[in-house]
Homo-oligomer: 338 residues x 2
DNA sequence: CTGAAAGCGCTTACAG
DNA sequence: CTGAAAGCGCTTACAG
């Protein structure tokens, strides 16, 4: 049998409640008994039962992480594992545990959330996807359970979230290209209904506008998926009507597809920028410049903002913006021939 | 306040113990009361408190997953996330929860294990690294806590583990190359002290032996790390004395490095095989043939074997071998010029 | 400063 | 077949 608080109490010749207070760091315990209890704890190698503690405290010190398992790039993009390490760094620092569940779709997500919250297993929930009109968010609101979303949700009222500044990220990329002399810059994006897509496209347009560069309709293509195929098709479409000097994309996979076209057509002078800075980027020919979104920080701050909320600490803001940075590689290293 | 078993009892006009029995599926409850209780549960939308249950049952239905955070290829290799999804598929099917912790080194690993087990948070532990003379394994043995290791440990006595058959995996690769006409096959491996390394090297040697091909000392190079640099150096060393017609490696990163040399020296006729089939493999030039280790299955069976143990089910064996398969790509597609 | 008691929300022998 | 009671291992008002 494992040693309990009663064993320690007996050993130290005090009441269990006193042991509990020593452990909890209660201030009103004499140094003498504190010491005696500590000795007993060490002698018996006592470790409090976390479950009993949770029951008495009505708190498990556990965060529930809901992951999508059908993501196109769950394995190709280190995004998820980076988020997970980021979360764990902060959580572990604060003595919180993390549970995770992979769910295939919104229904399953909701099922896990109901399970986690209804059975009081977790103190708070971390969501990694936010759909438009997200039922999980609605539900968590309804039952008033603490949660945080990685990725800005449609409606940010009363919800905690962390995200990159997608507008600024793309704005910076386009501005950078303009400074390098580019004027005709094409854009290949993913599903246009995503917030992320809107923000990035806005950033693209705004940067061009500010610098007085042209925004031509057929320089902008948005596709249904973040896949290589989509990138390939998009690049083909663009080249039908135009020959840009640079192409920006909203995902490395799109950029890979675009790059394939450029290679096939031997268009060596067109610059190309990816997004997410996946490990694959540096292995492209030419190696691909890409925007690093610092996914680990997204996780870190998600955990931080949620735990602060759980501990009723004052929140300066209901969200946190993680900076992005462009990793420059060969694909933006080309001499402008225009 | 959340609804408890007492509320349900009151609503159904029975004792809490009866409600508990209905939930637990006890056979000796009349259909009539069972129905009444079920109605009350539905009406009040009752969900048992998992923590209270755990305390009463002395079991949390939770598995603790210990992950290394300093792994060279934590982000480049989808190994870990695949393991995690594999674990979750089986665990979720069986109603188990999963906690994870990233640890920087053996000491931290041990700390988390002590925490998880000592505080009774988890019913069993899943380890993803086994060192020679692993203190974590020793400790878990000492306290007699259920655990499973992904990757065959040094001493398999009395421990649960899952792994690929590394001997056979490499044996098959080399045999395959021999059938394609190769006779002079080089080997680039990682740290030789790893079980995995020994097994793969043995598989290489055995296959050559069986087929009567040559095993030359300086065709085999083992490096300290699974990195691109190491692969690069190793390939250089090999080419100093020999010109093999094919090269096998024990990791894709090693193969990438080797491939770099081959490209630089324009040795287009040398076949190359990677290991782990990372997403990067298909993006190489030429695309890299690689051994898929089915990491998701490793996770799945790790969870399965551990949960079976936890539920005192009969175990046919204390380990499970997950098959590997060679994914053929351009790098083994070359015409033999020898 | 410390202890006895009640309570967290379940489960499960025990009794009927 | 069902209920009253004790127990899982903690915490925390309450009293002194």
């Amino acid at each position: 049998m494992a040693v309990t608080i009663r064993d320690v109490a007996k050993e130290a010749k005090v009441a269990p409640s006193t042991v509990s207070r020593v452990i909890g760091g209660s201030p009103k315990i004499s140094d003498e008994t504190k010491e005696r209890v500590m000795e007993a704890i060490k002698k018996l190698n006592y470790q409090p039962n976390a479950i009993a503690r949770s029951l008495a405290n009505n708190s498990t010190h556990t965060l529930g992480l809901i992951l999508p398992s059908e993501e196109e790039d769950l394995f190709k993009n280190p995004f998820f594992i980076q988020i997970m390490t980021g979360i764990s760094v902060y959580a572990q620092k604060k003595g919180y545990y993390i549970m995770y569940a992979f769910s295939k779709n919104e229904n399953e997500e909701l099922k896990f959330i109901k399970n986690y919250t209804g059975s009081k297993l977790v103190d708070g929930v971390i969501l990694l996807t936010s759909r438009t009109k997200d039922r999980c968010i609605e539900y968590l609101h309804e039952i008033n359970y603490p949660f945080v979303i990685v990725g800005r949700p449609e409606n940010t009222e009363n919800v905690l979230w962390v995200d990159n500044d997608n507008f600024q990220a793309m704005y910076k990329v386009v501005s950078y290209l303009i400074t390098k002399g580019h004027r005709k810059i094409a854009y290949i994006g993913g599903p246009e209904e995503l917030n992320m897509s809107k923000d990035r496209l806005d950033g693209y347009k705004r940067a061009l506008q500010i610098h007085g560069a042209c925004i031509k309709e057929n320089l902008v293509i948005q596709k249904k998926d973040f896949t290589e195929e989509c990138g390939y098709e998009a690049m083909k479409e663009i080249l039908k009507h135009n020959t840009p000097s640079a192409v920006v994309t909203t995902d490395d996979l799109l950029a890979f597809g675009a790059n394939k076209v450029l290679r096939e057509m031997k268009l060596k002078d067109i610059s190309l920028v990816g997004f997410n800075n996946t490990p694959l980027a540096e292995y492209q020919y030419p190696s691909l410049s890409s925007v690093d979104i610092n996914a680990n920080k997204l996780g870190y701050y998600a955990a931080k903002i949620l735990i602060k909320k759980l501990e009723n600490k004052e929140l300066i803001s209901n969200h946190y913006i993680v900076e992005t940075n462009l990793v420059e590689r060969e694909s933006t290293d080309k001499v402008l021939s225009i």
